[in-house]
């Protein structure tokens, strides 16, 4: 009986721990970004292989980035014209594509030094957290603003990275729009491009 109780207690503690890990990020946008950066820094400066780093960074992105929202945003008005099956396929492809580009961009930095500077509340839905990638002997300093969606105040999500004033979400959206417009608005052309990128 005692053993059963101990086992239950252990299971309970594990589940509490697992839950606390799942909601580990702060609800304050500035602290939220700070925590993500710290977590990413530990991963990037570790001696792990690129694959392990990419996997761990993907896990962070899945928890902190509004990937589904970004998928819809980057598809623009086209998302209203397609079937639910096509939309589902697109969501799946986009997630894979996003995680690959996200981790690829980050793993280029082995020891990034990013300083969180300030947070600017734009409205109740958005806060811009301003950070700076510190200058090195090879690279100039880079301003990176994180557009954090704060409508669900307990669960902030990143919706855009604005590098030196340039929105990556907007760039992505225009890139997809260009692929569609140069291929007679054929969604399969976009799918092919995404699949090609994911599998390369």
């Amino acid at each position: 009986m005692k053993r059963v109780l101990i086992s239950f207690l252990l299971l309970f503690l594990i589940s509490i721990f697992a839950q606390s890990k799942a909601i580990a990020y702060s609800s304050d946008p500035k602290e939220f970004i700070n925590e993500i950066i710290d977590e990413a820094k530990v991963i990037l400066s570790s001696g792990s292989t690129q694959e392990i780093k990419a996997k761990k960074l993907s896990d962070i992105a899945l928890k902190t980035v509004d990937i589904k929202g970004l998928a819809y945003y980057t598809l623009g008005k086209k998302r209203k014209e397609i079937s639910s099956e096509e939309l589902k396929k697109y969501e799946e492809l986009f997630e894979k594509y996003f995680l690959k580009t996200f981790t690829s961009r980050l793993t280029d930095y082995s020891d990034p030094k990013i300083t969180v500077l300030s947070a600017e509340v734009v409205n109740e839905k958005y806060t811009i957290v301003k950070t700076m990638l510190v200058k090195t002997s090879k690279k100039p300093e880079v301003k990176i603003d994180w557009r954090v969606y704060t409508k669900d105040s307990g669960n902030p999500l990143i919706r855009d990275l604005i590098v030196e004033g340039l929105s990556l979400a907007r760039t992505q959206k225009e890139e997809f729009a260009s692929i569609l417009s140069t291929n007679d608005n054929d969604l399969n052309a976009l799918f092919s491009k995404l699949e090609e990128f994911i599998n390369k």
């Binding site: 690279k139 557009r147 907007r170 225009e174 729009a177």
Partner: protein, 261 residues
């Protein structure tokens, strides 16, 4: 003579616009294509040229000791600031003009011909560069269409006109190309090729600071041409609107629709 007339016309337009209304339209973030097929081809040509010429030079430049790179970057940046100054004035940005002029005077003297940047330490902060394309944008000229020029890269109709306009209002160009000035200075140090060495160094300096970011963009784009176009237009809009965040004024209707789904 012709140059003098053009200068007078440009100044007159600037004065009229500066002292009339200041309710210029906000710069757009988009532009139609002029001739996309040609532009896509030109971008590929530029990429190939970059791979064999500009990128290796930029890598070689980066191998130089940091003080040499910083010094040459400061030096060309200081010369370039004169073009910014002309445009500050043409845009009616007198505070900006004061800052640029102050920086130029301090860095050219205390900073030994601009090699060092004591102005920043004195509180005269480095601001973004201005060119005649931006000035035309501030005056309300339409973006026109987008295309890619060989070697020079992405541009729009307005910015291409701006490139020509830069020549007339860039004091360094005038100093190195105007024979009267050469005679006045009385030596050969200001010959035309010095202008191209300065412009070339400036371009190599820029390329060397962006090796990784351009590599990353090439690696992670599924349509590199569209990415370059988007980034170029966002960057120009940001500069013309003098907004620290190009994204700030973006149309959020798409996000609102997504949120309400």
């Amino acid at each position: 003579m012709v140059q003098k007339r053009i200068k007078i016309i440009v100044c007159a337009i600037a004065l009229v616009l500066t002292f009339s209304s200041h309710t210029f339209a906000k710069e757009k973030y988009s532009a139609n294509e002029c001739f996309e097929k040609f532009s896509r081809g030109t971008l590929k040509f530029n990429q190939a040229l970059d791979k064999v010429i500009f990128k290796p030079i930029a890598k070689g430049y980066r191998a130089l000791p940091v003080p040499i790179r910083t010094g040459s970057s400061n030096f060309v940046g200081n010369l370039r600031s004169l073009l910014t100054l002309s445009n500050n004035v043409l845009q009616g940005d007198l505070r900006g003009a004061g800052n640029t002029a102050g920086r130029f005077v301090v860095n050219s003297t205390v900073g030994i011909l601009g090699v060092f940047d004591p102005a920043s330490k004195m509180g005269l902060e480095k601001r973004s560069r201005e060119d005649f394309g931006q000035t035309l944008g501030v005056w309300g000229a339409d973006t026109g269409c987008y295309f890619v020029l060989p070697i020079l890269g992405p541009t729009t109709t307005r910015d291409a006109v701006g490139l020509v306009g830069n020549v007339f209002i860039d004091p360094i160009y005038q100093l190195t190309h105007n024979t009267e000035t050469d005679v006045f200075v009385g030596n050969d140090n200001l010959q035309e090729h010095n202008y191209y060495i300065y412009k070339g160094t400036d371009a190599v300096d820029f390329r060397s600071k962006n090796i990784e970011s351009i590599d990353s963009l090439e690696k992670n784009s599924i349509d590199f041409y569209a990415s370059v176009k988007s980034l170029y237009l966002q960057n120009r809009a940001q500069k013309i609107n003098n907004s620290p965040i190009a994204d700030k004024g973006q149309d959020d209707s798409d996000w609102e629709e997504i949120d309400n789904q």
